[in-house]
Symmetry: C2
Subunit: 177 residues, 2 copies
DNA sequence: ATGAGATGTTCTGAAAATCAGACCATCTAG
DNA sequence: CTAGATGGTCTGATTTTCAGAACATCTCAT
C-alpha cells in the first residue's frame, strides 16, 4: 500500500476545490492520451480499413457485450451509419459475420469469425505495447490504478443514461461586450 | 424483455475479473470519458464559437504555457490552420488578443484580454461540474488519484517528443486470407 | 388478426471537420 | 546578401459526420 506522498499540497482530502492552476484540465489530459493511443493503434492496425475503430469493433464483438449494431455503435460512440460501413469492410475481409438475430430479425448479430479472432490475438500484443506507451510516465501500480479508475468511471457513465442534465448551462456570458 | 441482468442497480456489481490480460480497453475508457467531457463542455460554452476547443484555447492562453499559435496548436492537438480560425473568432469577440512577438515578429503572442479572463472565471464553475460528472463513478480519493495520474501521463507524453517509435507495427496480418 | 407506431439497418446527400500545400513575412546561418 | 527554415494565413480537396428517408420487422392496443 502506497501512501500518498505529498505532491505539492498537503491537502489530498476529499475537498473538491483544487488549486487548479498548474495541472491542465481533465479534458486536455484525456485528449492528449487518447490522441497518443489512437496514433499508436493506427500503426498497429495499419492494414485494417477503418483504423482504430475497426479494432474497437473487433474487440467489442469478441467481448459479446452487445447484441446488435446499434448497441455497438452507441457503446463505441460512433454513428450507426458509420457502423454499417465499418462492418461492411470487416465482413468483406471475413473478420466478422452478420447474422440476422433469430429472436428479432431486424437486428444483425455481429460475431467474430475464427479469422477475426486470430487477427485479434495477433493484435493484442501491439495494443498492449501501445497502452504501456501511453501510460509510460506511470509506474506499474499507478498504471493499474489509473486504468481501473478510468474503466470504472467510463462504465459508470455508459450504464447511467446521461439524462441530458450533466450540469446547468451558463447562459449569461456577457459576450455582447 | 432483455435477458440482460440489470446493470442499473445502485451498487455496481464489480465483477473483479482476473486482472491478468485484462484488456477492457484503455482506448474505450478514454474515448467514453472524453466524449462525455466534450458533451458537457459543449453545454457550458454553448455561446462560444468553436465549442470546447475555444475553452481549451482560452485556458491555455491563460496558463501562459505557450508563446505562439503553433505551440498552442501542438499542445492541444489541433491543426495550426484550425487554430487560426479559432483565434480569429476569439479575437473578434475580444476574448484574446494577438500581438506580434517583439522578439520574433513572425510569432503572435496570444494573451487573454480582461474580458476573456472574466469569461474564463465564469466558465470555471461549469467546467468543474463537468469534470465532477465525468468522474462521477469515483469517490473523491479515486478522482484525485486518477486525475493526477492522467495529467502525469499526459505531461510525460507531451514532454517527450514521441519519436515515431511508440511500438512496432504488426506487419503480417494475414488479411489476404 | 389488423393497423399504428417504434426500432434496426441501410442508403443518400449535405454540412462540417481535416489536411496538404502554396504563399508571404520574418528569422538564422553562412 | 543569399539560402533555408519557421510562423502564420489562405485555398482547395479529401474525409468524416450527421440528418433524414426508405425498408423490413417488431410490439402493442384494439
Amino acid at each position: 500500500m502506497k501512501l500518498n506522498s505529498g505532491e505539492m499540497a498537503g491537502e489530498t482530502a476529499e475537498d473538491t476545490r483544487a488549486p487548479a492552476g498548474f495541472d491542465q484540465n481533465l479534458g486536455w489530459a484525456l485528449g492528449t492520451l487518447l490522441r497518443a493511443y489512437l496514433k499508436g493503434i493506427e500503426n498497429v492496425v495499419a492494414e485494417l480499413p477503418g483504423g482504430p475503430r475497426s479494432y474497437q469493433v473487433l474487440s467489442l464483438a469478441d467481448s459479446g457485450k452487445c447484441h446488435n449494431q446499434a448497441q455497438m455503435a452507441e457503446h463505441l460512440g460512433i454513428d450507426r451509419t458509420a457502423m454499417t460501413y465499418l462492418l461492411d469492410d470487416l465482413e468483406a475481409l471475413r473478420l466478422v459475420s452478420r447474422q440476422p438475430d433469430p429472436v428479432d430479425r431486424r437486428s444483425r448479430r455481429v460475431t467474430l469469425t475464427p479469422k477475426g479472432r486470430k487477427l485479434l490475438n495477433q493484435l493484442s500484443e501491439g495494443v498492449r505495447q501501445v497502452e504501456h506507451h501511453v501510460l509510460g510516465a506511470l509506474n506499474a501500480e499507478q498504471s493499474e490504478q489509473v486504468l481501473r479508475g478510468l474503466c470504472q468511471a467510463a462504465n459508470g457513465l455508459s450504464h447511467s443514461k446521461s439524462p441530458e442534465n450533466p450540469c446547468q448551462v451558463v447562459e449569461s456570458l456577457d459576450l455582447k461586450d
